[in-house]
């Protein structure tokens, strides 16, 4: 059924229109919208959002262009030299720098991003899967009444608070208890370690993203039709088998989607990681064994925050926007990935 398409304005509006000039403007504004106007105006507002996104990609890409052009589309992602040094050189190059001033090899930053994101999502995934099973299947009502608000609270805590705890509590503890003078000496000719680094960054990031994953997985597990699990139970599966081979298996797409969303969040975490990652454009070397965990890194997003002061130097600006472009494209890809991952569940009529 369609609503009446009456496009007439009310008689009230007609009357007001004949009043004094400012009154006329008011009356004009107060006139009820016709349907066509409404569709048009609301549609315009909605499209505005779309426009902003297109602008965002365009602006970021245009500003990043000099770096892509000077280094080649792909090779600036590679290794070569000390990225902190390169970014440093960029600051004092004047307002019209030559192409050579844009030299950048950002691999350590990308490596830092991949490392923190990958590690925290993997750990978080295992943790959140178990926690979600606990919440949905095994938690007694009284404990559930505590866990559920706890997860919501953890999800709501601002990242800067996690960062603060990381830098004031975790990092000093790691620095004084886990890093022995001997360990420090063992890498003294490669890098200085002081507590902030891979380990603390991954721990803090994991705590940040796990609640989000738990929420999504819980949602998916709850969406499993009881008939499926009851059927399995009736066939003689015990409770764990039901959970593991029916619920979790059916919710697999949502679990992937949770991981994808958590990835997006972890990629973009800037300030929290800037505080606890050690802030060096350094690529930790797995050969160092356990010491690897204490070596400093700096993800892309943190690099953006830390270099934003120098954004008036054209090469620095281009580099920051290049990092932004990389993050933007990754999060776009992840959005699509998350959507695709959830398709199988949707096909079965489950709403996630």
């Amino acid at each position: 059924m369609e609503p009446p398409s009456a496009a007439r304005s009310s008689p009230l509006g007609e009357n007001r229109r004949r009043s004094s000039p400012p009154g006329r403007v008011f009356a004009r504004l107060r006139e009820p919208w016709t349907d066509r106007q409404a569709a048009w105006r609301l549609g315009a507002v909605a499209s505005l959002v779309l426009l902003i996104i297109v602008l965002m990609v365009a602006f970021v890409a245009v500003r990043a262009w000099p770096v892509l052009q000077a280094n080649g589309w792909i090779s600036w992602l590679g290794t070569g030299g000390n990225v902190d040094h390169q970014l440093g050189q960029m600051i004092a190059t004047g307002q019209h720098p030559p192409d050579s001033a844009y030299h950048l090899r950002a691999w350590p930053l990308i490596y830092g991003t991949l490392l923190t994101t990958g590690a925290s999502v993997l750990i978080g995934l295992a943790f959140s899967l178990l926690a979600a099973i606990f919440i949905v299947e095994f938690a007694p009502a009284r404990i559930r009444a505590v866990v559920v608000p706890a997860v919501r609270l953890l999800a709501a805590v601002p990242s800067v608070i996690y960062g603060l705890i990381g830098i004031l509590v975790l990092a000093p503890w790691v620095g004084s208890h886990l890093i022995s003078p001997g360990r420090k000496d063992s890498v003294q000719n490669v890098v200085q370690i002081d507590g902030t680094g891979v380990l603390v960054a991954v721990v803090v990031l994991t705590v940040m993203i796990t609640p989000i994953m738990i929420a999504i997985v819980v949602d998916a597990l709850r969406a499993i039709p009881p008939a499926w699990t009851e059927g399995a139970a009736a066939l003689g599966a015990n409770r764990w088998e039901v959970v593991w081979s029916v619920s979790v298996r059916a919710a697999r797409p949502a679990i992937v989607a949770a991981a994808v969303l958590a990835c997006a969040r972890a990629l973009g975490e800037a300030v929290g990681l800037s505080m606890v990652s050690g802030s060096r454009g350094f690529s930790p070397n797995p050969v160092d064994g356990i010491t690897y965990l204490f070596e400093p890194i700096r993800p892309l997003a943190a690099s953006m925050v830390e270099n934003v002061d120098a954004i008036n130097a054209p090469p620095v600006r281009a580099s920051i926007y290049a990092f932004a472009l990389l993050l933007l494209l990754s999060s776009l890809a992840l959005s699509i990935g998350g959507y695709v991952a959830k398709l199988p569940m949707r096909r079965q009529g489950l709403r996630v």
Partner: protein, 324 residues
């Protein structure tokens, strides 16, 4: 595609029957181990939350005092000379208000258009995925995009033109505009959910009485989804309050609220300032200020605000539940 706030699921608390007594009889060892792991994870979650809240609470009570709350911050190198956190608190409130005031109308209009009109369909799909993309875009990217936009000469009135001729591009208005992008997906998602939950026959009844679509929206649908919008706004406010990157990049992160020009309120909006998040960042050992005790105090206030918003979402959700 739906944008449901990630924690929305937790609110729909439909408990499944908990296992009773000797439920693990006949389980394999690996299964029992997994069960133990589940319990461990659940309890660890509670422990981590409790640890964070208690720790921040203790530090907050230890370092927070009324004088700190009501005095203005000043730049200083020693902790005792750096003043209070009044400006960051005001900054947080102002920025949140601007952000949410911009986000709510935009998001609600977009949601209404999408659900009630939604034609041409390809455009509707594009808008929907567009908002999903915004939801997934890192805040630092949004911030840096804002800087690119607001440094255009066109937007000089929103911040100010430095005497050298460049547009500063950082102000409450600029930061608020970008903050609205961060809150937008949450409000949009909530409003959309609400609209889609209203049965079609409600609309049809209204149309049958001769009301136009837009009139139906105004008088029937919007009042119905008021709670949804409120929930979405509270979530959005939580996100804005907790965001640091936009503040550091786009608010100028000056310690005090700096007014631009002579007009009282508008001048402040065009000026720069700080919020609790940027204050915590700045006062931590990672920032310029280095006053850890004040960072703790500010973080505690921030946490209280976030907890309040969280509780508000809870209350709203509960009020909505019986009606739906």
């Amino acid at each position: 595609m739906t944008i449901v706030p990630p924690t929305a699921a937790l609110r729909r608390d439909a408990p499944r029957p908990a296992p009773r007594g000797d439920a693990t009889r006949g389980w394999r060892w690996s299964q029992r181990l997994a069960l133990v792991a589940c319990w461990a994870c659940g309890l660890a979650l509670c422990a981590v939350t409790a640890a964070i809240v208690v720790y921040m609470g203790v530090r907050g009570v230890q370092y927070l005092n009324p004088e700190l709350l009501f005095s203005r911050p000043t730049p200083g190198l020693q902790q005792h000379t750096t003043g209070g956190i009044l400006d960051p608190i005001v900054g947080t409130i102002v920025l949140t208000v601007i952000g949410i005031a911009l986000a709510v109308p935009l998001a609600v209009a977009a949601a209404v258009w999408l659900v009630e009109y939604g034609r041409p369909a390809p455009l509707a799909r594009a808008v929907e995925s567009g908002i999903e993309v915004v939801a997934g875009t890192p805040d630092i990217v949004i911030a840096i995009f804002g800087l690119a936009i607001f440094q255009l000469p066109l937007f000089a009135p929103l911040s100010f033109t430095a005497s050298g001729g460049g547009v500063f591009g950082r102000s409450f208005l600029a930061a608020g505009a970008m903050m609205s992008l961060i809150a937008l997906p949450l409000v949009f998602g909530a409003a959309r959910e609400g609209l889609m939950a209203i049965p079609t026959h409600v609309r049809e009844a209204s149309w049958a009485l001769g009301k136009t679509r837009i009139c139906t929206i105004r008088t029937i649908l919007l009042p119905q989804i008021r709670t949804n919008i409120a929930t979405g706004s509270a979530l959005g406010m939580g996100r804005i309050v907790g965001d640091t990157a936009v503040v550091v990049v786009l608010l100028g992160a000056t310690l005090q609220l700096e007014r631009q020009g002579d007009v009282p309120i508008l001048g402040n909006l065009r000026g720069t300032g700080s919020t609790l998040t940027s204050y915590v960042y700045g006062a931590s050992p990672a920032g310029e200020g280095n006053a850890p005790q004040k960072a703790y105090a500010a973080a505690f206030v921030l946490l209280l605000i976030v907890l309040t918003l969280n509780a508000a979402v809870d209350l709203l959700g509960r009020r909505k539940e019986p009606r739906a």
